[in-house]
């Protein structure tokens, strides 16, 4: 029964930004359902609200109206501490600009979500196991030889792979990727997408990816398009996948 229910759902989401008393509506009633194990792409022109939708789904921001349901439980109105825990344990984030912490090594960056989750005592007790797990993850994304390098010593592709390892350290249910290939050349971008695809297939990891790169969406299970602040399921109208239609 539960298998037919979406893992994550957005119901009639509205979000408006205000800039100097001018209101800019970004999302005007978004409905979206994401099922467990699905690899979903969200496409749309620049400023169509793709990233805003991703931030709302990942509880980084709150909608003005509408609901977000995780496992049929509403999560958008949870207290701050519970939303913090959701971002730490349930969601994994990867960003276009990698967003690694420059003061930390690759290994420390990957361990950061674990450090946030644990107390000093808890960390000290588990640090060996955790470091081993982080090293395995970095090995898996092909960065086993870069454990103690600072982000500035890594290439763009390496930084994004480190960011993926960081997003996976807490074994999240859903990976939220915001333009993960936006800052990489075509080859490196394709490598990242293949990595995500593998994770999706092997680990049954649910992935929601925002992108405007139409070449990579072919690797995903389903594509939805944001038009005028609403969702249109692109897989139902293949014409939407034409490059000319994307921004």
């Amino acid at each position: 029964m539960l298998e037919n229910l979406p893992l994550l759902a957005a119901v009639n989401l509205h979000k408006t930004y205000r800039k100097h008393a001018i209101e800019v509506p970004v999302l005007t009633g978004v409905d979206l359902e994401v099922f467990a194990g699905e690899f979903l792409s969200i496409v749309g022109s620049s400023g169509s609200g793709k990233s805003t939708l991703l931030h709302l789904l990942g509880t980084l921001d709150k909608p003005d109206a509408g609901r977000i349901l995780f496992n049929t439980e509403r999560i958008d109105n949870l207290p701050a501490e519970q939303r913090d825990r959701l971002r730490n344990e349930t969601f994994g984030f990867i960003f276009q600009f990698y967003h690694l912490l420059p003061e930390l090594t690759t290994l420390e960056n990957v361990l950061m979500p674990k450090m946030i989750a644990l107390s000093v005592r808890g960390w000290l007790r588990q640090r060996r196991t955790l470091k081993q797990h982080a090293t395995e993850l970095l090995d898996r994304v092909g960065l086993g030889h870069r454990l103690h390098h600072k982000p500035r010593e890594l290439s763009g592709g390496e930084m994004q792979r480190a960011a993926i390892a960081r997003a996976l350290i807490n074994r999240p249910r859903i990976l939220l990727a915001d333009e993960p290939t936006g800052n990489l050349d075509a080859d490196k971008g394709l490598e990242i997408i293949r990595l995500l695809r593998d994770l999706n297939r092997q680990e049954q990891l649910t992935i929601i990816m925002v992108t405007h790169n139409m070449e990579i969406v072919g690797n995903t299970d389903r594509v939805v398009r944001l038009i005028k602040g609403r969702v249109e399921d692109a897989t139902k109208s293949p014409s939407l996948l034409q490059p000319t239609m994307t921004g």
């Binding site: 984030f93 967003h99 912490l101 950061m112 946030i116 000093v120």
Partner: protein
Amino acid sequence: MYKLLLCWRYLLTRYLALVCIVSVMLGVATLIVVNSVMAGFSTKLRERLHGLLSDIVIEAHDFQGFANPEGKMALIQSDPFLSQHIEAMTPTLEIFGMIQFACNGTALARPVHIIGIDPAGRARVGGFAEHLLLHKGKPSFELSPEALERQHVLHPPHRLDRIAAMLLPPPTDGKPAPAPPPLDVSPPSTIIIGYAIAHFRAKLNPDGPPEEVRTLAPGDDVIITTIKGHGLRNQELSPVQWRCAVCDYFKSEMSEYDANYVFVPLSELQRLRAMPDRATSIQIRIKDYRDLRAVKDRLQTLLPAHWELTVHTWEDKQGPLLAAISIEKGILNVLLFMIIAVAGFGILAIFSMIVVEKTRDIGILKALGASNRGVLNIFLSYGLLLGAVGALLGSAIGTAITIYINEIEQFLTKWTGHELFDRSVYYFNEIPTDLNIWSVLVINVGAVAIAVLFSVLPALRAALLHPVRALRYE
């Protein structure tokens, strides 16, 4: 855990934060040095003040004093509690007056505080005999042979006596010639004068340091003028004057005393002031300083009210001076803590810059699940760490400066050619310091608290940053 890690990394990588550390460090070091020197001065001054004053003084209300001091001391001794706690007692007779003497043909006059004492009794009470230069430890009003010689030069035998001696016929019966009449070279009295009355410091050589010049040698004459009462109940006052010879110097290293005090024999002063068997105070030394208050209270209840005697401890007597030192120290501490407060504003400014610089990192941390409180704690801990490192370094530097302050002063005096610590003011041979571990601790805690306090605002700003806006910050 991430808070500690990030704090540590920020400390090692943000060189801007070193400015915060240096400002806290300088503030703490200055506070420690100034506090230690002030405490040193205070302790030394207290020692000197107490050293000179007896523990407890029983005083008459006016300068005519009270009668029968021996009887009063006997009454005190008869009390079992007091006799058990009192080490020694002595009466003194104190009065203002004037000293006159000649220096290089110029007549000099100064106001002085004349104290009539019994030297042995005063020595037992303490704070006197050890400050004498010529009869150190053995106070006496006797003239040394050199002083007697000086008196002989100043007051040679009368010429007529010498002529008479020469005119006397030689003895004819083989008996020895009769001794000549005794030479009256002994002055009517002797006096112990404050060292600073008899000496002054002057720069004789323009390039050299100031030197000490003596104006009164042992055996020199001085004239003391004061008052005595006569008539009905001694109410009418008239001047009284006498000549005496300097027999010793009193050097307590307290310029206040050394420049004003002269000591004369108690019986002499009583006779000259027509106050036989009277004194103005009884000086008391107690066995255990901790019993000071108890002995004072007991004395107050013992002495009948109609005697009109007041009982003071030495602290009561020097209350204003001790309070002044304490107030000075307090004000100086407030002013110096304001220096640390200035350092605090530096921390505020630099932290605000660091928060702006780290805006995106704050967004990342929040995206990874860090709470607002967690982010707040990163920056508060960072402030704490900067304050603690600054305070620690400041304590090390401040302690080192305090320990080697005299060497540093000597070096600076030699280097600049200007005497930084004028020894004539206090007669201290070196800058006194008193490094108190508790005050160092208080300074450290205060400095760290200020550092944390001033990081609250930027830390709050960081904590309340919206994660999405922080992530999009460029």
